[in-house]
């Protein structure tokens, strides 16, 4: 089971780009990397998923280097509503372990 390490918290101002990096040194060949967002008193919500290189959707980009031992979630031009906890998951089997996540605070 690949262990992930992410910063406990991050602060940003509105309009800035935010990059949250997750380390997963023992990622397995079959593992995917998935990021979720959680607001208080709600369940997490899927943001983006990737296996290697770069993935982009309407809300974020995910950068994965060739060795796949880390990944970076990039949120372009954050707003106050992006204040949330962000989880990095590395998984291939059925168990989805979320860990403690990164608490992002966006201020004006």
């Amino acid at each position: 089971l690949a262990k992930t390490t992410q910063p406990i918290s991050m602060d940003s101002y509105e309009g800035q780009e935010v990059n949250i990096t997750c380390s997963h040194n023992n990622i397995a060949t079959n593992d995917y990397i998935t990021w979720y967002q959680q607001f208080p008193s709600q369940g997490p919500r899927f943001i983006i998923q990737g296996y290697k290189t770069k993935v982009t959707n309407e809300v974020a980009s995910l950068f994965i280097p060739a060795d796949r031992k880390s990944s970076t979630l990039s949120l372009p031009r954050v707003s106050l509503s992006d204040t949330a906890v962000y989880y990095c998951l590395v998984h291939s089997g059925y168990a989805l372990n979320f860990g403690k996540g990164t608490s992002l605070l966006v201020t004006p």
């Binding site: 959680q38 369940g43 919500r45 998923q49 989880y87 168990a95 989805l96 403690k100």
Partner: protein, 112 residues
């Protein structure tokens, strides 16, 4: 479309009382089902998951148990609640062959 129902939304129970939280999924078949707990200010802890009827995998030994009596029903139970069982309980499902998890609205349990 698929939906997940989790109830109740809030629950206050005395220490030593039993617990039953129910989660049902609609619009899909043979989903993987999950129970998580989140203590105040903490991350999500995976408690149980199930890949089929009657199949339960426990991630953390504790005062809780889970059952899956039907394909789209997942129940979290306890015979005697402890104060440490307080927390935010979340049910989730993943479609067969997929990897994206969808969560219910959660149950806020306070054991007093």
């Amino acid at each position: 479309s698929q939906t997940i129902h989790q109830w109740p939304a809030t629950l206050v129970q005395p220490v030593g009382s039993p617990l039953s939280l129910e989660c049902t999924v609609e619009g899909t078949s043979n989903p993987n089902l999950y129970w998580y707990r989140q203590a105040a200010g903490r991350g999500l802890q995976l408690l149980f998951y199930s890949v089929g009827i009657g199949q339960i995998s426990s991630e953390v030994p504790q005062n809780l148990s889970a059952s899956r009596p039907q394909d789209r029903q997942f129940i979290l139970s306890s015979k005697k609640l402890l104060l440490s069982d307080s927390g935010f309980y979340l049910c989730a499902w993943v479609g067969h062959g997929n990897t994206e998890a969808f969560f219910g609205q959660g149950t806020r349990l306070t054991v007093v």
